[in-house]
Amino acid sequence: MSILSIKNLGKSYRSYSSEWKRIARWFGLTAQGVDEHWVLRHINFDIQPGEAIGVVGQNGAGKSTLLKMITGVLEPSEGEVQVNGRIAAILELGMGFNPDLTGRQNVIHSAGLMGYSHEQIFRALPEIEKFAEIGDYFDAPVRTYSSGMQVRVAFSVATAFRPDILIVDEALSVGDSYFQVKCINRIKKFLEEGTTLFLVSHDVGAIKTLCQRALLVDAGRIILDADALSVIKLHQSLMLKKENDTNQSSRIKKNTRNISQAEKLTDDLQVSGDVLVVKEAIEAVDIRFLDESNRPISYVVSGQPLTVEISVKFKKQFHDPHIGFGIRDKNGLVIYETNTYCMNKELGAVQKNDRVSVSYSFDCHLGAGDFSFVVGVANEGYGKGSFRDNLYYDHEFKVLKVLQTGDDIWAGFFNLCPKLKINIANS
């Protein structure tokens, strides 16, 4: 049996030409002049116990509305939400904390608000206090807390009881990193014990690490319900497409003569899974990994020199193109990204059929593992690394294997190659 089942769910906001008509409706009178505005519609999915589901989508896509209907804060306008278990939601940490009361009193209050009985709360209290790790402050008024301490107490109480469904909305990016790890570990433990997780986040890395399945919400619909990686890829491609569209439409306002050209560009934009290409602009892109003597390689030994050579063939002229690359680990976490614009270099204007190649050389101090290389081509940079036109973007152009030899021993993502100095004093 599924733990959560959503059938044809929809939410609309009604606006009335007069508020009195709204009131008349409560008494069963039908009112004219009602304007319905759907923010979410035709949502269907089922979730099995123990699944971890990420929810991604742009701001205003309807993610929060969906979650609020699942938690029961918002009433659905149509369809139904069937929940077979206890839901806990971490939507906004520290909601309803009273600054004049102590941490302990606030914990009792919040847990009561979540619907737990006094006996349950008092049984869990020592554990909550221990998890928050704020020492004697637990019995001091919350107004004396730092914001980090407040988050610690809030998270401790929100996760003090293992729910059947845990809903987390952008709440993991708070607090210091020590506590963040602690939070993620607690959530992982819940998952192992059979809790179903619903994670809404703009932090794609968190979704990749915690979730197997993901939903992509866009303009009030679920446009993709699949494994987390493919959903994230499509999400990122859509974000880029959006960025292009807004850049172009803002230019249309500035210069009406460009309309036809801009429209053409949008039409020719091709987004397929993880690759974004403006077909009219770019003919071919290639990336090669080279060693010291410029021989192509498919793996590199950690610490050895590496050259990343990217060549692009343009189909059109551009006055200020830039080429960049990025490195991601297998979880999709960005390890490094740069481009010619960010490095203050200009390629200069390019003509149709020009083939441009750039190469980045560095000592590859990455730890052992597979790393995917991202390649991007764009035109006209501004600000801190933004571009007017994104011409090409691939999340996973090529994978490079990094090996670590036995005589170079260290652990982690990246070798900082520290200089070691030892001083022994004996007085």
Partner: protein, 264 residues
């Protein structure tokens, strides 16, 4: 309705601890703490008594104590304060708790319950301090005091009914939040709290029957000032009105609670 009651029962500890927290945080960091809760209305009584007693005491029939007017004032204020406190707090309740209602799912009925509980505690403290003042003034009381229990319950019913209706409407039509304090202020002066009923000309006196609080202050006066049983026949219609308003308030509250979150 049954669902509301069930939610309330499940959250009973929460309601109690919220009431306690509210009192706690209200007087946190103040030296006199709870005393302020009674000092405020007592100061009000002292001001009225000082300024108006000479003008009005002669007109208070059937009682010869020189403090009669002060006692009369206190009895009326006890009823009026309970009513106006509940109404004005219910009026802004949903707006002030909007952020919470939008984030956390909990039985909404707990919110007005907490208001009622904490207003009742305030009222009880005020009552106890008034008893103290009565003893100081040498004003004795009898078992008719027990009538205050059903009366208090009734005032609460009326106040919650009115408060819920206005509080719900206020979420959608914010003008209500502005106009109600004015009406409450007017209501205070159209209810015989500060003045005795007999200063109103005979031909206008029947108009007071339209003021639902008149019957209650009258009954409070009978109990606390004259130590007589309240005029039950006079109270019956207002009990009916209170009950109707309470039901209407709960109905509106239930009907609107889904849409309230939408517009908050």
């Amino acid at each position: 309705m049954l669902g509301m009651m069930r939610g309330l029962w499940l959250y009973r500890h929460f309601v109690l601890s919220s009431i306690r927290n509210e009192q706690r945080s209200r007087f946190a960091r103040s030296k006199l703490g709870v005393l302020w809760m009674v000092l405020n209305p007592l100061a009000q009584v002292a001001i009225y008594a000082l300024i108006l007693s000479n003008v009005l005491s002669a007109k208070l029939p059937g009682i010869e104590s020189q403090y009669a007017y002060a006692i009369y004032l206190m009895a009326g204020l006890l009823a009026w304060n309970l009513f106006s406190e509940i109404v004005s707090r219910c009026l802004t309740l949903f707006i002030s708790q909007g952020a919470l209602m939008k984030k956390i799912s909990f039985p909404r009925i707990t919110m007005p319950t907490i208001v009622v509980g904490s207003c009742l505690i305030n009222n009880l403290l005020l009552f106890l301090s008034m008893l103290g003042v009565f003893t100081l003034l040498g004003h004795s009381l009898s078992f008719t005091l027990l009538w205050l229990f059903p009366l208090t319950l009734n005032v609460v019913m009326l106040a919650v009914g009115v408060g819920l209706i206005l509080g719900v409407l206020n979420v959608f039509i914010r003008d209500i939040g502005q106009v109600v304090p004015i009406i409450l202020q007017m209501g205070f002066w159209f209810t015989p709290v500060v003045y005795p009923i007999n200063i109103i000309p005979e031909e206008y006196r029947h108009l007071l029957e339209f003021n639902p609080m008149y019957a209650f202050t009258n009954a409070y006066h009978q109990i606390l000032v004259y130590q007589t049983t309240p005029d039950l026949l006079h109270l019956v219609p207002i009990i009916g009105v209170s009950l109707l308003l309470l039901l209407l308030g709960l109905f509106l509250f239930r009907r609107s609670s889904a849409e309230m979150v939408d517009v908050l």
